[in-house]
């Protein structure tokens, strides 16, 4: 099997005494888009800068097409980066901005080749009509496309995007995500796309790598991440609404949730169960939460606390005691704040996480009683 297009192994980076990156390892395969999803400050930009050679590392190795490039200077690495701030040259025309990397001493393409490539990239990104304009006459969305086109003309081994769209209007962001996806489908480029926006990551990434506090939590396709989340952070970062969590009260291996009528037995193969069940958090994807608008055996009565119209559907928040459940539901029947509804948690869909480390605790729940 061929080596991955990009392989990073055990990247570590500290600023002062703070760990910015801890043991980051990732593979990206040829023709793949890997989305790097995490909150602001998680280490996304540092990871991209490290791959590009713009960041010195405490330890770790970077391989491109199987060859180590850890020690190469940024200009000797065949990667292109689009940053949030675009870094365009304001006094040059759109054409000259896009052509800029091809005219550098490394490439020195003929003007004929340059013209062909610039026109093709501009065509791809629908900015052909803007080629003679100055960059400072462009809107934010147009500038963004120019920056992407400039990255495209070089045909590097790997493209990296660092929150390239987060400064744009939401609507523009959606259409650029669709365009990037389409473009990648046509030319099979390999991409690393960093974002804090779940929607962009989910619609672009063939696989998603979740990053939090400088740690990779999990890497997988969206359906893998949903089927077997390995960390509580996966539940926080994936979905709209995200995973529903409950703090657990435990009595040895009996679990319950304060204010809710169920009691489960938790069996785990992990040693020192007693220690682990001291602090467990239960999680369930909102799509797996069951809801009825009339009483049903085994279900818990809750109050609708908020409703959120979203056009195609409605998200609601249920409350009972300190428990909160958010879930998207159909527009009909109409529900309002203050209405009652009945909540069911299918036992087989519940995940258990260690409250201290956030790690998933493998094991199985058995429903023992439901006193409501």
């Amino acid at each position: 099997m061929n080596a991955p297009r990009l392989s990073i192994v055990g990247l570590n980076k500290s600023f002062a005494h703070k760990h910015a990156l801890t043991d980051i390892s990732l593979d990206i395969h040829a023709g793949e888009i890997l989305a790097l999803l995490g909150p602001t400050g998680a280490g996304k930009t540092t990871t991209i800068r490290a791959i590009a050679g713009l960041e010195s590392l405490s330890s770790g190795r970077v391989y491109l097409n199987g060859s180590e490039i850890t020690q190469l200077s940024p200009t000797d690495r065949d990667v292109a980066v689009v940053f949030e701030g675009f870094n365009l040259l304001p006094t040059l025309s759109v054409y000259d901005n896009i052509a800029f990397p091809l005219r550098s001493t490394i490439y020195r393409e003929t003007e004929e080749v340059i013209s062909e490539r610039v026109n093709k990239a501009a065509d791809n990104l629908r900015i052909s009509l803007l080629l003679s304009r100055k960059v400072n006459q462009l809107s934010g969305g147009e500038r963004q496309r120019v920056a992407i086109a400039r990255a495209l003309v070089r045909r590097p081994t790997l493209y990296m995007f660092d929150e390239p769209l987060s400064a744009l209007d939401l609507k523009l962001r959606e259409s650029l995500v669709a365009e990037l996806r389409e473009m990648q489908r046509m030319n099979g480029a390999t991409m690393l796309y960093a974002t804090h926006d779940y929607g962009s990551a989910a619609s672009l990434g063939h696989r998603i790598a979740l990053i939090e506090n400088g740690h990779i939590l999990q890497v997988g396709t969206l359906s893998d991440l949903i089927a077997t989340p390995r960390h509580i952070g996966v539940g926080r970062l994936i979905g709209s609404p995200a995973m529903v969590f409950f703090d657990v009260l435990n009595d040895k291996d009996m679990l319950s949730i304060e204010g809710l009528p169920w009691k489960w037995r938790f069996d785990t193969s992990l040693p020192a169960v007693a220690g682990i069940t001291q602090g467990l958090i239960l999680g369930i994807w909102p799509e797996d939460v069951e809801l009825e608008f009339s009483p049903r055996t085994g279900f818990a009565q809750c109050e609708v606390h908020a409703t959120d119209y979203r056009g195609l559907d409605r998200a609601i928040e249920l409350r009972r005691g300190t428990n909160r459940v958010r879930k998207a539901i159909a527009l009909a029947p109409a529900v309002q704040r203050g209405d009652s509804c009945w909540l069911g948690l299918p036992t087989s869909k519940i995940f258990a996480f260690n409250a201290q480390t956030g790690e998933r605790v493998p094991g199985s729940l058995t429903l023992l009683e439901s006193h409501e």
């Binding site: 809107s139 939401l170 609507k171 804090h196 779940y198 970062l237 908020a306 959120d308 979203r310 056009g311």
Partner: protein, 359 residues
């Protein structure tokens, strides 16, 4: 609290018109969202209402009284910005007390007011902390609390949630909506995020290039967009929009005929139109010859969460559909499938994008 009226509000900078003669009436206690892309004039309108800009012409009325000549500080409005403007060297409590002290309230009154916002905003755990030690969501809540503690007539929010990460933003939206209804303060919120607008607004004022495009409830804008701009801007994933030719028996998309049982009256004459249909009304369960059904080659498919999307082209124009049935076999790229467009959910626009009104 106050009602707000804008009469022909216009704002020009040199030769460019930022706000082009806006007329608008906002009820007392209403939550209105100004929505539109960058440069549509939403923020300028808000700043005129706040008194931070002097309109070129037109009137601004609070409770029927013209306030154009009043300085911002005399209008009794509170404004919260995208970038959180709390004093970093003061605790949350002192930040909130600040506007009250500045107004010369007695200590007893201040204590009472602070207690009130502390309860309403559930801030008790953060009152004695410094802003920089708080997560962005709590910081923005504290900034809101400081804005409303002095009982403003009008609350103006300029993209207050856009600097907050997506995963907190959803929670903030729900919190903000709940708080506004509890406080009952007339609120204008500016955003480019249509989800935020749909979620928060009693009514949305959709703007584009300095003009008001459409005013209405979120449902009205979603279901009955007045033009193509509104159709495209509201709703995610975006509405499919395509050129069609009205022909006998249906609509032509390039060389494909999309049969319609009966042509809606405004379409009875041959001609070019724009068809709009939302992706959730495009399904893969069509039957040959039935109204709204047409054969198409599946070009791409992808999942977002548990939603399955598929993409195809007709007459060189792209369409996206969402599979509603969860357990059916996934669309296969490269195969042809019978697509069903829900005829009742089709929307039509003239070639220049104006809604075609049924007589």
């Amino acid at each position: 609290m106050a009602s707000i009226k804008l009469n022909n509000l216009t704002m020009r900078y040199g030769n460019s018109t930022a706000v082009n003669g806006i007329n608008l009436a906002i009820d007392d206690g209403e939550f209105v969202v100004f929505l539109g892309p960058s440069g549509c004039g939403k923020t300028t309108t808000l700043r005129c209402i706040a008194g931070l800009e002097n309109p070129t012409s037109g009137d601004i009325l609070f409770d029927g009284v013209k306030v154009n000549h009043l300085h911002a500080s005399a209008r009794n409005v509170a404004m919260v910005f995208q970038f959180i403007s709390l004093y970093p060297h003061k605790t949350v409590r002192k930040n909130i007390a600040f506007p009250l002290r500045a107004r010369g309230l007695s200590e007893a009154q201040i204590v009472e007011k602070i207690k009130w916002v502390e309860d309403v905003f559930s801030l008790s755990e953060v009152m004695d902390r410094y802003p920089n030690s708080l997560p962005p969501g709590s910081r923005q809540l504290a900034a809101l609390a400081r804005a409303v503690v002095r009982d403003p007539k009008v609350l103006l929010l300029d993209e207050p949630l856009s600097a907050i990460d997506e995963q907190f933003r959803e929670e903030m939206r729900w919190e903000l909506k709940h708080l506004q209804s509890r406080l009952g303060v007339t609120t204008i919120h500016v955003t480019h995020d249509q989800r935020e607008a749909m979620s928060l607004a009693d009514r949305i004022v959709l703007m584009h290039s300095g003009d008001v495009v459409q005013i209405g409830t979120p449902q009205a804008l979603f279901n009955d967009p007045i033009n193509e701009f509104a159709a495209h801007f509201i709703g995610s994933p975006a509405m499919n929009l395509a050129d069609v030719q009205v022909a006998s028996g249906g609509l032509m998309l390039g060389s494909s005929l999309l049969p319609l049982g009966s042509l809606p009256t405004p379409l009875s004459e041959p001609g070019n139109l724009r068809l709009g249909i939302r992706p959730n009304h495009v399904q893969r369960d069509g039957k040959a010859g039935e109204p709204g059904c047409v054969l198409a080659l599946i070009e791409d498919r992808y999942a977002i969460g548990r939603e399955e999307y598929f993409q195809f082209s007709l007459g060189g124009q792209k369409f996206v559909g969402i599979d509603k049935e969860k357990n059916r076999q996934l669309a296969e790229v490269g195969t042809s499938e019978m697509i069903r467009f829900d005829c009742a959910e089709m929307r039509f626009f003239t070639p220049d994008g104006i809604k075609v009104v049924a007589p």
